[in-house]
């Protein structure tokens, strides 16, 4: 993974996002105990409402865990407080360029450590989820989330729950009540279809959720605060889409493609709570896109015009993180775009809809009816839409064991791909990180042959 490490250190924004991901516990402890803020557990890209309350902090549960963080990343974090991340990043790049063996090794280890430590933690949570009653039949995502709540659930003041089409997801949310010292649950029911005045009902449901958040926070809801946050959230979405559709579809990458995939993974992870600070996250995203564009302009990076673009999806419920490295080694570039597949990267339409809650209801309804869909016909259209937008040359469908919702539709999808996109596709099965790497290698080896 040295190539990946070598590249990532030159993106100070990525280092920042990764650092914020891993040091979440300290940050959140400060928020909770020193600043007396309340932590709201969120999952999937559904944290926005919490940002309407300055004394509530949304958190994707893995971030309350302690990671075995590389000591040098801790040092870097401290150094960045004094010199700023950009200077630290430049310094690292400088050292790397000098070719000082030991230092280079250390830097590689740091970056390896970021990705691996998160995945190790996920696998640890997987085992805890099973030990605490989640049957092995369920998907990786549900097991790890349950594990996260078993271990750190007491830290949250509430869980913000949205019902979605996945019945296992909805039942998993209910099952959180069985954990000792179960935290308060705030439910927002999303109607399965947009029939009649379902949108109005959803708006009312969101208002109900807001009332609960108000009670929890002790502060009144303020339209302007929420609208301001939605503006920030829309900026984030715009930057995210620029990375997906401007950078990833271009012939020249600002880094090697495996690094690029790694960045997409970090974004996929961190987008769920914007690292608990949306403005900081937005600024990091702005830096990231600037850094990328600057490098492309200066022809620093890699010509990828001959490398087929392989869309790997869905991966948000768990996937084998080695996949993009393997694809890179086989001459391809792997892309991840799950959140846009679900239409979570669409704007919250505050420009056209005055009431931000109504705008958010519209956003959620669009995700439900046109993104994840109320059936597999719509869902498979979403996969096609993303493959088309990315101008993908191939699609790797990640069939998560135990997922009965978003990753069980390969039969329908395969037919549609053949008929409408005429690109090769393959399904890979996934159960747990690291469990099946050899098989993934073999299958991808055969698949990537098609592009030679």
């Amino acid at each position: 993974m040295s190539l990946i490490a070598d590249d990532i250190i030159r993106f100070s924004s990525v280092l920042r996002i990764a650092y914020n991901l891993l040091t979440g516990r300290e940050y959140l402890k400060r928020k909770k105990f020193r600043e007396k803020k309340k932590l709201i557990s969120v999952a999937l890209p559904l944290s926005d409402l919490v940002y309407g309350f300055p004394d509530l902090v949304p958190v994707f549960p893995i971030r309350t865990h302690t990671f075995k963080m590389h000591k040098y990343l801790t040092y870097l974090g401290s150094a960045s407080n004094i010199f700023g991340w950009e200077n630290v990043s430049k310094f690292l790049g400088f050292i790397k360029n000098l070719g000082i063996g030991d230092v280079s090794k250390i830097i590689d280890e740091i970056i390896d450590n970021v990705i691996e430590t998160v995945n190790e933690k996920y696998n640890e949570m997987y085992d805890i989820g099973i030990e605490n009653g989640i049957p092995t039949d369920f998907c990786y995502g549900i097991k790890i989330l349950y594990g996260m709540h078993v271990t750190k659930g007491k830290n949250y003041d509430a869980n913000l729950n949205y019902t979605i089409r996945c019945s296992a997801w909805n039942k998993y949310l209910e099952s959180l009540k069985t954990i000792n010292n179960a935290t308060k649950q705030i439910w927002i029911d999303v109607p399965p279809r947009n029939v009649g005045n379902a949108l109005e009902l959803l708006t009312e449901n969101i208002y109900e959720g807001i009332r609960e958040l108000e009670r929890l926070s002790g502060n009144s809801y303020n339209n302007n605060l929420l609208r301001d946050h939605f503006q920030v959230a829309n900026d984030i979405r715009r930057y995210y889409k620029a990375i997906l559709y401007e950078i990833s579809t271009s012939d020249f990458y600002p880094c090697n493609p495996a690094t690029f995939s790694e960045i997409l993974v970090i974004l996929n992870n961190s987008f769920q709570d914007y690292n608990s600070n949306a403005v900081r996250y937005r600024d990091n995203m702005a830096s990231l896109i600037n850094e990328m564009k600057e490098r492309i302009k200066n022809k620093i990076g890699m010509d990828v015009s001959k490398m087929p673009k392989i869309l790997i999806t869905p991966m948000f419920g768990g996937w084998e993180p080695k996949t993009h490295e393997i694809i890179y080694e086989l001459g391809g570039r792997a892309l991840y775009a799950d959140w846009d597949l679900l239409l979570a990267l669409e704007d919250i339409p505050i420009k056209t809809i005055k009431d931000p809650v109504e705008a958010y209801a519209y956003y959620l309804m669009n995700m439900t009816t046109n993104g994840i869909g109320c059936d597999n016909d719509i869902l498979t259209n979403s996969y096609l839409r993303i493959a088309e937008k990315l101008n993908a040359d191939g699609l790797v469908f990640n069939q998560v064991f135990g997922c009965h919702s978003v990753s069980n539709c390969f039969t329908i999808l395969k037919e549609k791909i053949r008929r409408e996109l005429e690109i090769p596709s393959i399904a890979l099965t996934f159960n747990k990180i690291g469990e099946n790497v050899e098989q993934v290698k073999t299958r991808l080896g055969a698949f990537m042959e098609m592009f030679r």
């Binding site: 049957p135 949310l173 209910e174 069985t178 009902l201 064991f401």
Partner: protein
């Protein structure tokens, strides 16, 4: 009557329905489908309550991964293989895609898509609150529209109310029948038949009630009574035989094919006080708090319901009632809650067996052993 004869009869019955101009509207059985609307539209509602087997499950793997609910797999398999006994599935005119669970959506969608059966939609919210009731009403109205478009005739409120009354009376009778102390397998057969034939079975049901009441067939004295909760025992499922062979007797069927179905009745006061029949159906949804679809209180409600039945039984008989939580493999709703249900009931000293299985024959031995061990323990 063995299963082949039963299905042959049902085949003839359905053909007669078709000859009378009734369209057959099928759906994967669950407890929120408004069959009264189908009935009021002049159609015949066909609940898919047929158990699976290895062959049926295997046949579904062309469409969905094997890690899909075994019942959903089997439903797809029935359409894929179309075994001779199930030829009546060819008579289906429409199939409802609904979201009791995500496997319901996926399997129903596959059945409509790959076996060329026109599709109707009926979706429900996961929560039960004032807005989800309003949403349920929207779906009912939309569903009514879909049915009306099929035959071009408006479903009048009076007709719908008649249908609701008709099903209500039928369910009341079925509830009465379910309270008879007869062998579980006998009871189940009649309940399954009743649910399949609907109110047209009322006469036969009444005569069965009379027959069994007169003959007063009691439990086998030494049998151990159990309540079956979780997944339904569908038609042609061998599990009921395994329970009886092990010395058990299924006294309660707390499942779709069972109490979930016939307990959802209106008393006369409610029936008379709610004028709009659509609102009656909404009211029923509101009260369906024991159904496994709903969140976030399903587990709490289910535990209090089972505890109540258990305590009543203990008081009446002085004996413990065993709880068999029937988990059809890869069922999202029942499976995910199984460990929690068991823990909570055991804390109340209620004996529970979480019995997970698919429909493969190979499981029989293991299931028998587990049931025997559980019954010995009671």
């Amino acid at each position: 009557m063995d299963i082949s004869e039963f299905l042959l009869d049902f085949n003839l019955f359905l053909r007669k329905q078709k000859e009378q101009g009734k369209k057959i509207i099928a759906f994967i059985s669950h407890d929120n489908i408004p069959e009264e609307l189908i009935h009021a539209a002049g159609f015949f509602p066909l609940r898919m309550i047929f158990a699976g087997n290895d062959e049926l499950m295997d046949a579904s793997h062309d469409y969905l991964p094997p890690s899909t609910c075994s019942f959903a797999q089997s439903c797809i398999g029935l359409f894929s293989i179309k075994p001779t006994q199930y030829k009546f599935l060819d008579l289906i005119d429409y199939f409802i895609v609904s979201n009791h669970c995500v496997s319901d959506i996926c399997a129903s969608e596959i059945i409509t898509k790959y076996f060329n059966i026109p599709r109707l939609n009926f979706y429900i919210s996961y929560t039960i609150n004032k807005n989800s009731l309003k949403y349920f009403k929207l779906e009912l109205v939309d569903f009514k529209d879909q049915l009306e478009k099929i035959n071009g005739i408006n479903i009048k409120n009076e007709d719908l109310k008649v249908s609701i009354k008709c099903y209500n009376n039928f369910k009341k009778k079925l509830l009465e029948f379910s309270n008879l102390k007869i062998k579980g397998s006998e009871k189940l057969k009649i309940v399954q038949k009743a649910i399949l034939y609907g109110p047209l079975y009322l006469e036969e049901l009444e005569s069965n009630i009379q027959k069994f009441s007169e003959n007063h067939i009691q439990n086998r004295i030494n049998s151990k009574d159990v309540l079956i909760t979780g997944g339904s025992l569908f038609l042609n499922d061998y599990l009921i035989d395994l329970i009886e062979d092990a010395g058990g007797n299924a006294l309660y069927f707390d499942t779709w094919v069972g109490n979930n179905y016939y307990s959802q009745i209106f008393d006369d006061a409610v029936f008379d006080s709610i004028v709009n029949p659509i609102d009656l159906l909404v009211d029923r949804f509101k009260n369906n708090i024991y159904g496994d679809h709903s969140v976030p209180n399903f587990l709490d409600n289910k535990i209090s319901q089972i505890e109540q039945i258990y305590q009543d039984y203990l008081e009446k008989t002085g004996k413990k009632l065993g709880i068999i939580n029937h988990i059809i493999k890869f069922c999202d709703h029942i499976s995910l809650m199984a460990a929690h249900l068991k823990n909570r009931l055991q804390q109340k000293e209620i004996p529970v067996l979480n019995l997970e299985r698919d429909y493969s024959k190979a499981n029989r031995g293991q299931l028998s052993t587990r049931i025997e061990a559980f019954l010995e323990m009671i």
